[in-house]
Symmetry: D2
Subunit: 295 residues, 4 copies
């Protein structure tokens, strides 16, 4: 996901003194070094999630005024600051990754209109974790949030700031190798684990292109013998499982159409926190399926 030589280890973070820590992470919450200063009191950290949690706690413990100032420290999306180059380096990268630096004149107008309405209604800039989002998602967020009451919107803006902070931390520090990706296939037509089903796992790029990461076959319990990804191999990003259900139905003797209604099932999902366990099971019959984030 990133140039590992450029990312710190958690050990390196835990070796920092307060000044170094704040120098490294003072901009994780935009122009608000006090967040890193307070979070440092919780060092050492067992994980990057723990660093983030300490920072979130600092924000939650802050006064309403300080939290409003934190929101106000953010640039307008596609606003004057963006045009004039006054963003933090992090904000520039994030806004570019959402395509906000190459909007058509019409899109730019729509953004300006929504931005103006938002600032007029709430008195602070619209903040959204836009890295990886496209213009349609950002406009949808704008439109939905314009209807909030002010208290709800403050809550929501702080939640977005928390997500931005997490993505910034992840770009700077290698997460702890505690995460894993697992799956489990159950056949709802037979009530049994779906054994012997081939599964492929792909990494999906921001352009939608897929790269094969591995090929697996379910064991008699319908699981893989080991996690599909674990530890350092589990990076934040978008993935796709492809389940060869047609092969399973043929072996299990389940009646299907020709071709089967469900022959190859893609499950596409994103991993935001690679320190966590992502269990992504498939419940399937020849005519229906479901999935969920399990545990």
């Amino acid at each position: 996901m990133a140039d590992e030589t450029a990312r710190l280890s958690i050990d390196a973070v835990n070796g920092m003194d307060a000044e170094t820590f704040v120098a490294a992470f003072g901009e994780v919450f935009e122009h608000s070094r006090w967040v890193a200063e307070m979070a440092f009191a919780s060092a050492p950290f067992q994980s990057l999630s723990a660093v983030h949690a300490a920072m979130q706690d600092a924000v939650e413990a802050a006064s309403e005024t300080a939290r409003l100032d934190l929101i106000r420290a953010h640039p307008d999306l596609a606003g004057k600051a963006a045009l004039a180059g006054a963003l933090t380096a992090e904000s520039s990268v994030e806004q570019a990754s959402a395509g906000l630096d190459r909007l058509s004149p019409e899109q730019m107008n729509r953004f300006r209109t929504l931005n103006a309405a938002y600032v007029e209604r709430f008195g602070f800039p619209f903040v959204m974790a836009v890295r990886g989002a496209d213009a349609a998602r950002i406009i949808a967020g704008f439109e939905g949030r314009l209807g909030n009451d002010r208290a709800s919107e403050i809550h929501r803006a702080l939640a977005e700031i928390g997500k931005i902070a997490w993505m910034r931390l992840l770009a700077a520090v290698v997460p702890a190798p505690t995460g894993r990706l697992t799956t489990h296939v159950l056949c709802t037509a037979t009530g049994l684990p779906a054994a012997g089903m081939p599964i492929a796992l792909y990494r999906v790029g921001t352009d939608g292109a897929r790269a094969l990461l591995g090929s697996f076959t379910t064991n008699p319990d319908g699981r893989l013998d080991a996690p599909a990804l674990a530890g350092a191999d589990l990076e934040a990003g978008t993935y796709e499982f492809v389940f060869e259900t047609g092969v399973y139905f043929a072996r299990a003797g389940l009646a299907t159409d020709a071709p089967p209604f469900l022959d190859r099932i893609p499950l596409r999902f994103s991993i935001a926190n690679p320190e966590r366990h992502y269990h992504v099971p498939l419940l399937v019959s020849p005519w229906a399926y479901s999935t969920y984030r399990g545990s």
Copy 2:
């Protein structure tokens, strides 16, 4: 799906006399013209499904001996006949489309071993609707069906023959324009229809390549204002809906990770009978979804 100039209309089928009908459809059930002969008694037909149903009724009304002869009329998959070129034209095309004409020596050996075991156990050749299936699915079918008792396997072989017949009819006759493809998106986090969700529909080729067929947005009831495909536009084959759930979650104000666990959901499914209604809904929250063939 096919060169329409080469396919008959149902009206043209209904204009045939018995001899012409049997000449046209006598090989829909392999080397078994009696099926077409009996089915002709049910003419005229309202749909291609009705032609197929009349043929299936003929097979079901036949004696056990006649049904066994029907199974035995089929070539061995990848067997001597295939090598020697004695297949019906239809069988040759079908076996080629499953890649059975370009197996590796190892695969060919595996097929021969399974074929021999199957013929030894049941006394008739292995029949499977292979058009569109790959070697993995065919081998899975072989392995699963070798464990059947004989009565079950006769039942299964006749079901496969019915599917082969349907695909042959579809290649020869334009189906009635009665089918349609619809969807409906319900949000299980809010208990409400998911309004304003962008959806794309793709046709998926046998090589997995996708071609965009249309772009839609859900209305306030979570449905499309018209079928995604209907009538002559609805062809047998594989399709993929892509639901822009990330856009919907952003507008609805539902909390998600960044990126959302479920940002774009692909639903891939195949339509075997374009005269039918395929309702393919999505029930979705930020952490789970399900789909099914509805009505």
Copy 3:
């Protein structure tokens, strides 16, 4: 659900002048007649939902101070006011229906402790729509909401006040007969509607006792020929469908254990707004099922 002779019709409400309207509905929002006063400007009303929406709009348009005063107008749950009898008549009935007038000394202590912590943290009383809730649900609400930040908790308290208001309106006015209860059974093992399935519908009392309201059988599309309940027969409250899946599986020839894993499926749900459409479908195979509020 109520003594209809004691409830007003919507026509009667629409015939009121401002003074009568406020006299009738001034306590729907506790000790806050201004809500009814502002809502009256939206008369006439097509439905009770419209009355409620007009009142909610008034609350949303009010100042933060007025909204806080609205929260503060509510009695402490199980607090001094309850003991001293200073509640509005509506509040007394609601707290009695949740069993708060007959707590054990230990429960009373737990309530007092949570109440004190809540008031200390937020500076206003804990408000929850408790009619029909038991002590476990109320304590869970207390515990969960103590962790909120203040802005979120104000939002939540106002949402609870909106639900209390709705239940008060429903006790006073006969809703418009626009609602209906429907179902639909799809078999995920066959991909077909589940036809011929017997279904019973029960009303469930607050003590859990069930009274049979009707018996139905699914038609060939897996639906009932008419709503299970509609119009005046659809009252707020708790219902249970019982689906005779064992009968369906037997007729459809689907393999099951003996007894079937799923022989009779109860779906229990509550209707809060009888002016709405409640679609409660069942997706079922012999080994799995799901339901959801549809549309």
Copy 4:
């Protein structure tokens, strides 16, 4: 479930010689002692499931004639034999438990009509595992199976005979204590395990009456700390979990109606083989839920 003093242990079964074994189990397959004779060759048995599997293998290895004779050894349901008292003791009990000894004259006529049609079509009596089934399920089975072809119906009749045999074995021998009943609650609105949810487990009698077996609360992973039932406590029969979802939603701060659409969710299911693991999870949001037999 049964008077344990009257049931044998598996050790006792394994201590039998061939003659004793056949004397004990010769009627598990109706009037067909050869099944027990052949199965004895597989002794000793690790479980009652293994005894059953050995008997099923004997049936599958038998000639078509022997299998047809096995079907023909069964009495007509509600037929002349039942009236005249010529049933095996096991058959009498089973038919009484399905209420077939107290049919109304109209029901008796319907049974006779179906019975006659069935025997005419297939040439052997209708066999169905009726213990615990009611007249509606049996009639549905009759109607559905009358449409089968003969080979499918032979297959189906033997499957029913296998289920009858299992229930007879279970009435005679205490199963191995290897089974357990577990659950797991995942919240699809938050993507997290549903912690702190109260759950009750009931045994459901043949009259529908419920007896409380235990009360539990989900742990932080959404599971119970131990199986809800295990070993000798897990008996064949019907159970109901009741999930206090309203309590969970209140604590988790999820918005619901008042009362919640899903306040208490009953999951009713039957356990046919107490030597197995039954995992019965709940995936739930305030507006939707699903369950399935897991592993």
